[in-house]
Amino acid sequence: MSKTNKNAEDNLVTISINDIEHKAKAGSMLIQVADAADIHIPRFCYHNKLTVAANCRMCLVEVEKAPKPLPACATPVMDGMKVWTKSEKALTAQKDTMEFLLINHPLDCPICDQGGECELQDLSMAFGGDSSSFQEIKRVVVDKDIGELVSTEMTRCIQCTRCVRFGEEISGMRELGATGRGDRMEIGTYVEKSLDSELSGNIIDICPVGALTAKPSRYQSRSWEMLQSEGIGSHDSVGSNVRLHTFKNKLVRVIAGDNDSINECWISDRDRFSYQGVYAKDRVKSPMIKKNGIWKEVDWSEALETAATMLQEVNPDSVGVLASPRATVEEQYLLQKLMRGIGVNNIDHRLRQIDFHDQENTDLFPNLGMSIADIENADAVMLIGSNVRKEQPMINHRIRKAALNGAKVYTLNPRELSFNYDVTEQIIASPSEMVTQLTLITKASFTLSKKKIPAGLKDLFKSVRANKSAKAFAENLMNAKNPCVFIGSIAEQLPAYSTLRVLAHVLATNTGANFGFVGGAANTSGAWIAGLVPHRKEAGQAVNEIGKNASEMLNHPKKIYFLLDVELEADADNPQQALAALNQADSVIAVTPYANKKMLSNADVILPSAAYSETSGTFVNIEGTWQSFKAASKSYENARPAWKILRVLGNHLDVKGFDYVSSRDVRDELKELCDKAEDTPKFETTGLFAEHDSVNVKSLQRIGEVGEYVCDSLVRRAKALQDSQPDHQAVQLNTDEIKKLGLAKALSADEQKVQVKQGGVMVEMPLVVNEMIPDGCALLMAGTKSSGLLGSAFGEIVITL
């Protein structure tokens, strides 16, 4: 060990691999050093994001002085170690291992979905023998049904246990295991059940053989026929890197891409399987115009001319522009530039928000306040109004890593949520009591930090009486070294959002915590930056005249609505109000990939846009990273990328500066404007008085958070995801509340249905018992088919038999 002194400072050791010297971090495993030096050692069970199992024995290498070959994945490097990965001894060991692994592996590669991208197939080409010494009958393992997303062919399994370790270590749900032993060991759930994790699809990527493959894309195409393009996940604000696989110009599969600072090598099931929605039945083939109630397919120039005329003929004040926060930054920027160019100021993307009091005080865009990767280093995390696990699976993954490292996690939510790590305390407060609870904690933080209470908060603080638990809560945050306070999508939907945001921000400041927003869609940040808000232009620049926000536009109807990839019955806070607004409008122009029945009945001009993967563009994620992508597949029929539609519409309307050749030109223009902008807005609480509409709920309060698989037009059309979560369409109550409301009878009936009434509309829905819902509240997710007939997501509802 004397040599180590030389390298002691940086803790490095010197080893030789195949007679070439390498420096390596002491304590690292041989396989890591070899991987870093681009020396390939075959392996099945080793995965750099999982713990070492050393059970496949494929990575056996020769090590000097070791009597037998050693597994490179479980052998720590030592100074002076000499290793040979391709010596006769190593190769013999690897070949012998291969022969054992192939004993029970079926020769069904021609019908296996993994064929062509199979680690076992590749390595058996390199290390497998021509014949096997094993003459006996191969074993057969009965397949398991583990849900709509992952298809199993367990006879192919080589028991590497990557999927088992993934469940325990990454998704935090140990659902798969190895039952039985010896040659009868099987990987499965033992008792038939569907995988429940929001990250379950990743086991498809890490399975080295064809035992676990993607069910929705099964038997669609062979891996060597597909083209791969880089893409960005579009269902949360993280911007997970994905790889899009196309076959004959159609998107047929999505797998995880690598980006250590964003999604490592994992993606959510939502990002993986939503592609099914691209080719939904209601995709629009050609531009359409409605004349006298009858839809007619027209060519692009006629459709655009018609839309342009509609926009020119009215007073700009009576135009409302509502756009998706999932649109690319190029589309968002062009849309606002176009609309502001013709004098329209009513522009917004915040369709689910109803409280806009503090919009002036927001940063350039609501952001995480730190990098995604940094969340791992937090030692206390407070989540306010956020179902982060379902809304932002990759952020939750980082919080989980922090929690496993000992971070304390606290939550304040309208209902109890299940997490895949230990949560120190969950405060449950009905939506209307959220402010009270947060006020208590924030007030305690002032007492503890001895800071002066701003005048604006005094009244609010007077309304509550300090208590011990709130003080302990604030103290925990204050005592942490790296605390974070995050506010999420549920809070954003509440009538008192701005108050909650101010309180959370002040709490973070008092406790020395990072303040961040953990909600939003794929390009919510981009929408703010591009100026798709009524009160700011691009790069946060001030507008001359503040337009109406989304809620005002729908509450005080406009004559013309211009929609960009928006389905208001599912994307707006109050579908009843939104649909009524569209109904009374003179004309509705929709740039959309899809046209469902509601769209056909409300719109007057439909301009079919490219769907996910069919357009180039950029998403800006929650930490502010711009990620551009190219189109991976051809636009469907006559659909065109939305940025091109908007550019040509700009030309029709004679707006200046609409001569872009590519989406890159658009992005570069915006980027330059952002770089030049000197004074971007910062979140300010000074002068903000906590003003909120107190909700007076007499009967039942609805908790209308957005369902995991109904958050946007694409995922709502993804069949496998929809099939895997039937509960979304139900209303959920706890047992006591069911009794109190006299609904117990519904539970004993064959079909457990109840009548839900909101805003004068009655809808029949299934009733599900969920003890995690507080008294006086009912969980009825927004974005679903039935909720599209109802009112505000966090409004009052009535449930009867």
């Binding site: 749900m173 798969l176 039952t179 039985g180 032993r181 759930t189 033992y190 008792v191």
Partner: protein
């Protein structure tokens, strides 16, 4: 750690819960999973097999993922997961190398003929369960051997087996023996 869930409490008997608690107490607090083997043994004592319902109850009681219990229960041959194994008496004849060389196959044939069942089956009267392919029970010096309920019987002959089966039938059940 030990859950107080109402459902678990009714599925696991008091005897089972006491036994599990006693074993959990013997291990460090963060190593209570070590008591799982004993917990499953307690269930075996009670029911002579381990139902999925009981495994789930044990998982909940010990705060373990269900699959972690399934893995252990399905790994060890001393646990029976099939209800038909829940006969009054359990016979396990070792058929590994030493016993095989010393004639365990004949013993197996004899028992099958005698009871009129095949290995892996139970007699229709519920008296005997004949376990399939028991692994080596570490009594090679007395091969061929078998385990009748919890007792080892070595140097078996057909006559010896007959006598053992007869006395087992007469002397009552595995359950009685354990509780006495």
């Amino acid at each position: 750690m030990a859950g107080s869930n109402k459902q678990t409490a009714t599925i696991l008997s008091k005897h089972e819960r006491d036994d599990i608690d006693m074993w959990i107490a013997r291990f460090p607090e963060d190593r209570s999973q070590s008591a799982l083997l004993a917990a499953l043994r307690a269930v075996m004592h009670e029911d002579h097999y381990i139902s999925t319902e009981k495994m789930d109850a044990v998982a909940e009681y010990m705060d373990l993922p269900k699959i972690a219990v399934y893995e252990v229960a399905s790994f060890y041959s001393m646990y029976e997961l099939d209800e038909k194994a829940a006969a009054k008496n359990s016979i396990s004849v070792c058929t590994n190398v030493s016993c095989m060389l010393n004639g365990s196959d004949e013993i197996v044939d004899h028992i099958e003929e005698r009871l009129g069942i095949k290995m892996g089956e139970s007699t229709p009267d519920g008296e005997f369960f004949f376990k399939i392919e028991e692994e080596c029970l570490a009594a090679c010096c007395g091969a061929p051997m078998m385990q009748l309920n919890h007792v080892y019987h070595e140097n078996l002959t057909k006559e010896k087996v007959d006598a053992l089966l007869e006395s087992a039938r007469k002397n009552g059940t595995l359950h009685k023996k354990e509780t006495s």
